[in-house]
Subunit: 186 residues, 2 copies
Amino acid sequence: MIKPDLTEYFVSTEILAQGKLLTVNCDQVRLANGHLTEREYVIHPGAVIIVPILANGNVILERQFRYPLRLVFIELPAGKIDANEDVLHTGQRELLEETGYSANEWVRLGQTHPCIGYSNEVIHIYLARSLIAGKHQRDADENLEVFELPFAQCLNMIVQGEITDGKTIAALFLAAQFLKSESAHG
Amino acid sequence: MIKPDLTEYFVSTEILAQGKLLTVNCDQVRLANGHLTEREYVIHPGAVIIVPILANGNVILERQFRYPLRLVFIELPAGKIDANEDVLHTGQRELLEETGYSANEWVRLGQTHPCIGYSNEVIHIYLARSLIAGKHQRDADENLEVFELPFAQCLNMIVQGEITDGKTIAALFLAAQFLKSESAHG
């Protein structure tokens, strides 16, 4: 059996929208069957999400109002990669800025693609331990609340529908698997 | 301690982009501290993702090229909600169209928000069992490959980084918890 060619080939591109936050491209593409079609998608610089775990096993979380859904979400600390910034540095910078914590141990857990249908965003996932509390660097317009919960309770809140943020679910799942394999081999 | 007001209040809206697929709004909002700022975000009709499980325990998956990332992804069947469509019906329609399967048992597992920073998309998650194979209804331009894998292998592929699609990770996690609780009570 010959595998189907799933690839879509670039023909041309134009900028559909250029906002302050979002750039949206519309590309003309050629499908494997020769047909031409269009693909509209958000251009994103990529992001980093951090699973910060305290010595007592608690996870540092945030409550943040997310305007597109007009709801407060429970999320892990995360933020966009600055131009030319190393991904680990983004994680360290965002953790410090948003929560005031720095960490002596960083473990890369993987990555997730939150929105493959209409965004090129990739989110890199890190575990952070050996945390040192300090002063956050949130600006006056960055309104979020930092709190902590036992790891098992975070997983239970996904099941209960209290945590629905996709990037936070992916990061907690990978962290749970990592901690399980670590304790099995420890 | 008084909890901070995290809410951002609507002031006005304008359409930043109106493509064939994507609508992007830019709203002016007032923060709790009185400052005005802007929020740009994609307007999305919502979607449904299905975890279809065969009698042998295998999961029905798809390989699909996702142009924004120029990569083939392994995903669960999913699709957008049509205007005025019941969410369960979307799930039944998309499963049939994309894979040819219909299902006699549907279990709602919850929902996930894939992209809370710049989209109002919500994805409803269903488990589908008692599957009946039939003929898919993909059109000539919908190029995807359907295959099946044992459930445990799907979870392992998340850990290995072979499944990175956020909605698929969230749905598999909720399905794993549901199946675990079912077998504990069964």
